[in-house]
């Protein structure tokens, strides 16, 4: 290492590296520019920053050492799983430590009788289901990145998936988390029982974007694989009617295993890519899945077909085989790569809205397409109100990028206005931190900061993410105004 004596930051980095190496092998502490470069972003690749140091602990003891060193030297720590997150939750800090949990990827045990698996944080989501498959079990939450994303990251983001309505989110499927506090102390949150004494810190840490603790081990719930699953594909000639059909399914007392909507721009974009046989004339198609015993599925598919027909479906097809079911879903799963083929860049949003406002919000997005002159196909897990509009743009055109950001911000604010939220499953990270100022009041944001202080008084775990500072909100300008209260009366205005 070339030590430049006049560079205090450099000396500090040298000290961090030296201290980390007291317990971690040489190859597990990266600090040279070329080794750091691959860690400069997560799935939100528009934001890049080379981290100061990357630490790759092989187990909990090493992870503990990293936190103790960082805490003693007051260096910020950003924990990272597979780096598939879409909101910049694992965006590095230039003079901080990026704590990669990728080496901790052992499945410690699968207990078929208890229907649980105990895994290290770097285990991939899909690997858990693969390990459980021989017992007829699987791990239910299935974010679309499940082949790559890790369970530690899933816990940090409270990851969802297409089957949430029936099977829940990460928070509903994790029994216990073992983790480290910022001081490097081991804590067990939750239990292998169905509850634990005291506050539900497991729920609080789930979705906290690595700001409260670092996950070193997770016990997940496994559920029996349904004997069979079938999907109804229904066409609608009007977006609003498709939205109403979603509500009608729920009103009929049906909880589908999956319920997704694709609009015409989306079906047209993917059909060429996957040849799923989508109705390209339909304004939107709904995919509505039933799973369970063959008797149950037969009965439910009948009811779904009835409801969708009465809701004005112009065509209905029911999957007759597992291959056909997979084909119907293929466009949904391939939506992102397909869109990647028709546009140089795309920006994926993640607002959630009450189901009954779906038609209204889709119409709003249509109006925004005209206003900003950008296309925006929609693929939405409509059953749970989550929207993933994809704004298509060319990143080499600075004006298109600017329009995309404004487009996205308007849509997020619309989501808040109709009683929804700015992020259903991708997290706030750095991406949506400004919109947090719109969704929450100053007192609510202060409560988040208080929660943070209870766990991390020095603010060393993933600082700058998720919860905006008071000044950041003041600078953003668009304020939360709720119940007639004046935002930030304590700050001077000009």
């Amino acid at each position: 290492m070339n030590v430049r004596m006049n560079d205090t930051a450099f000396l500090r980095k040298a000290e961090v590296v030296a201290r980390l190496r007291e317990r971690l092998p040489r190859e597990s502490v990266l600090f040279e520019e070329e080794d750091l470069r691959p860690w400069e972003c997560d799935g939100l690749s528009a934001y890049r920053m080379v981290p100061g140091v990357v630490a790759l602990p092989a187990g909990e003891e090493e992870a503990r050492h990293v936190l103790r060193v960082a805490h003693a030297l007051e260096v910020p720590v950003v924990a990272r799983g597979a780096g598939t997150g879409l909101s910049g939750g694992a965006y590095p800090i230039a003079d901080g430590v990026l704590l990669s949990l990728a080496k901790m990827k052992r499945i410690l045990s699968v207990d078929p009788a208890a229907r649980t698996a105990r895994v290290q944080p770097g285990v991939r989501n899909l690997a858990i289901s693969e390990a459980a498959a021989p017992y007829g079990l699987y791990y239910a939450p299935d974010p679309s990145s499940q082949i790559a994303c890790t369970i530690g990251g899933n816990v940090a983001e409270n990851a969802g998936g297409v089957h949430c309505l029936k099977y829940g989110l990460t928070v509903n499927n994790v029994l216990r988390v073992r983790g480290l506090t910022v001081e490097g102390e081991v804590v067990e949150l939750g239990a292998e029982a169905l509850d634990a004494p005291g506050y539900d810190l497991l729920a609080l840490v789930t979705g906290s974007e690595g700001m409260l603790a670092v996950v070193t081990e997770v016990t997940v719930k496994l559920v029996p694989k349904p004997e069979t699953a079938r999907v109804v594909m229904a066409s609608f000639d009007d977006l609003g009617r498709a939205g109403e059909a979603v509500a009608a399914v729920i009103a009929a007392g049906i909880i589908p295993a999956g319920l997704e909507m694709m609009d015409r721009p989306a079906t047209r974009a993917v059909e060429e890519f996957v040849h799923a046989g989508y109705d390209l004339e339909a304004a939107a198609i709904l995919l509505c899945e039933s799973d369970g015993t063959p008797e149950e599925v037969e009965e439910e598919i009948g009811r779904m077909t009835d409801v969708l027909t009465r809701a004005g479906a112009t065509a209905i097809r029911v999957s007759e085989s597992e291959a056909e079911r997979q084909r119907f879903w293929s466009g949904r799963k391939a939506a992102f790569p397909a869109v990647g083929r028709i546009s140089p860049d795309y920006y994926c949003m993640d607002g959630t809205i009450p189901r009954k406002r779906l038609g209204e919000v889709l119409a709003f997005i249509g109006a925004m397409e005209k206003k900003y002159g950008l296309r925006c196909p929609n693929v939405s897990p409509a059953g749970d109100g989550n929207l993933h509009p994809l704004i298509l743009f060319d990143g080499n055109d600075p004006d298109e990028l600017r329009r995309t950001e404004q487009f996205a911000s308007e849509v997020l604010q619309k989501c808040i206005e109709v009683g929804g939220t700015i992020t259903g499953e991708h997290g706030v990270g750095i991406e949506k931190i400004n919109e947090m100022c719109v969704q929450f009041s100053p007192e609510e944001l202060e409560t988040f900061r208080r929660v943070k202080r209870a766990f991390d008084p020095k603010g060393l775990l993933n600082p700058g993410k998720n919860i905006p500072t008071l000044h950041r909100c003041a600078e953003f300008g668009r304020m939360h105004v709720k119940r007639g209260a004046l935002p930030h009366p304590e700050l001077p205005r000009f």
């Binding site: 509903n172 005291g198 810190l201 729920a203 789930t206 349904p226 007392g253 009450p354 189901r355 208080r450």
Partner: protein, 354 residues
């Protein structure tokens, strides 16, 4: 702001200024639960009513003082329910109390607990600030999940003003079966069934009798009845039986020995403790009626990977709730100090030191 909300907020602000503890209370049906009851009574029942309920959205937003029975009746009219089957113990319990206590009934094993159904809260913290967290949508990861934290916090971190609960359709069909079997076999059987796609929604074993409830599509319930065997119970008798388990009116809960609530992994072997036991939740919840020493009960629960609560009566000086590990206890105290800095909300109701 309504007058009643203003009154609640003013009471908290005044109490915080005077550092004088408040005892938050709805119907008082769970006064028996938890550690000491201390402070001036703050009755939530004046802040009642269903704020928003749309069956097609699968949620209900309800004020804390709303009687639980009224909410469940309103949901029932639209063919829906609170799937965590909150216990009532006595008439007059409120929705706020059901959420704050975090207690779930027999359907817990299949549907999830209170926290799994909390989508959002409006609350007053220990400063009297009026705060909203979460919302009315199922997927929501903006900020920390303060709303789920309120479930089971026993009112020690804030007063729940309104809560949005996810609701579900009532099952199309139900059936209750009864089978004779000893404890060990019941545990083994329940865990084996748990690993199969069977619609078991509740289970209760005591005195050599295992009772299970099946819920779901008519075809699924019919098919499962064939697989499980046993004797079917009359529908009315079954409904009374499960209410008795839920509300502790079952004869098992009558008598002088205090009931311990022992939460363990469902596969934990029969607990070697003196006294009668009732096993619920597919093996994950063991009720024990015993005069045995608290240490004995807690050691057995810990060894089995769980925890034990002195649920009602008995000598509360042993601690109603299982002691926390030091690092976790510190996080509890920090959270309490941050959200209720004057330490006035239900002080000592959960753990004596906060």
């Amino acid at each position: 702001m309504s007058d009643e909300l203003q009154r609640l907020a003013d009471s908290i602000r005044a109490a915080a200024a005077a550092r004088s503890p408040l005892r938050i209370r709805g119907g008082g049906t769970k006064d028996f639960y938890g550690q000491a009851l201390a402070g001036d009574l703050l009755d939530t029942r004046g802040y009642a009513g269903i704020v928003d309920y749309d069956p097609t959205e699968l949620y209900a937003t309800v004020r804390a003082g709303t009687p639980l029975a009224a909410l469940e009746a309103a949901l029932g009219e639209r063919g829906q329910m609170l799937a965590f089957e909150p216990p009532r113990f006595a008439p007059g319990g409120t929705v706020g109390g059901a959420v704050a206590s975090g207690l779930a009934g027999p359907r817990r094993q299949a549907a999830g607990g209170v926290r799994d159904f909390v989508l959002g809260v409006r609350m007053l913290d220990g400063r009297g600030d009026d705060l909203f967290f979460g919302g009315q949508v199922m997927k929501n990861v903006a900020g920390y999940d303060v709303s789920r934290l309120m479930a089971g916090a026993m009112g020690t971190l804030g007063l729940i003003l309104e809560v949005t609960l996810k609701v579900l359709p009532r099952p199309a069909a139900e059936a209750t079966l009864r089978l004779e079997m000893p404890e060990d076999r019941a545990l083994e059987t329940l865990n084996r069934w748990g690993g199969k796609p069977l619609p078991v929604s509740a289970s209760a074993w005591s005195g050599g009798e295992l009772t299970v409830r099946l819920s779901g599509a008519a075809a699924a319930v019919r098919a499962a009845r064939g697989k499980l065997g046993g004797e079917a119970m009359d529908a009315d008798a079954a409904a009374r039986f499960w209410e008795g388990i839920r509300d502790h009116r079952d004869p098992f809960f009558a008598g002088d020995e205090p009931p311990w609530r022992i939460s363990v992994p469902s596969t934990a072997a029969a607990l070697p403790l003196p006294g009668d036991q009732m096993i619920e939740w597919g093996g994950a919840l063991r009720w024990l009626r015993t005069q045995a020493d608290a240490r004995l009960v807690r050691d057995a629960a810990s060894k089995a990977g769980g925890h034990a609560t002195l649920f009602r009566g008995g000598d509360k000086s042993v601690g109603v709730f299982h002691p926390l590990a030091a690092a976790v206890a510190r996080l509890h105290r920090n959270l309490k100090a941050e959200l209720d800095p004057a330490g006035i909300l239900n002080r000592g109701r959960m753990y004596a030191d906060f």
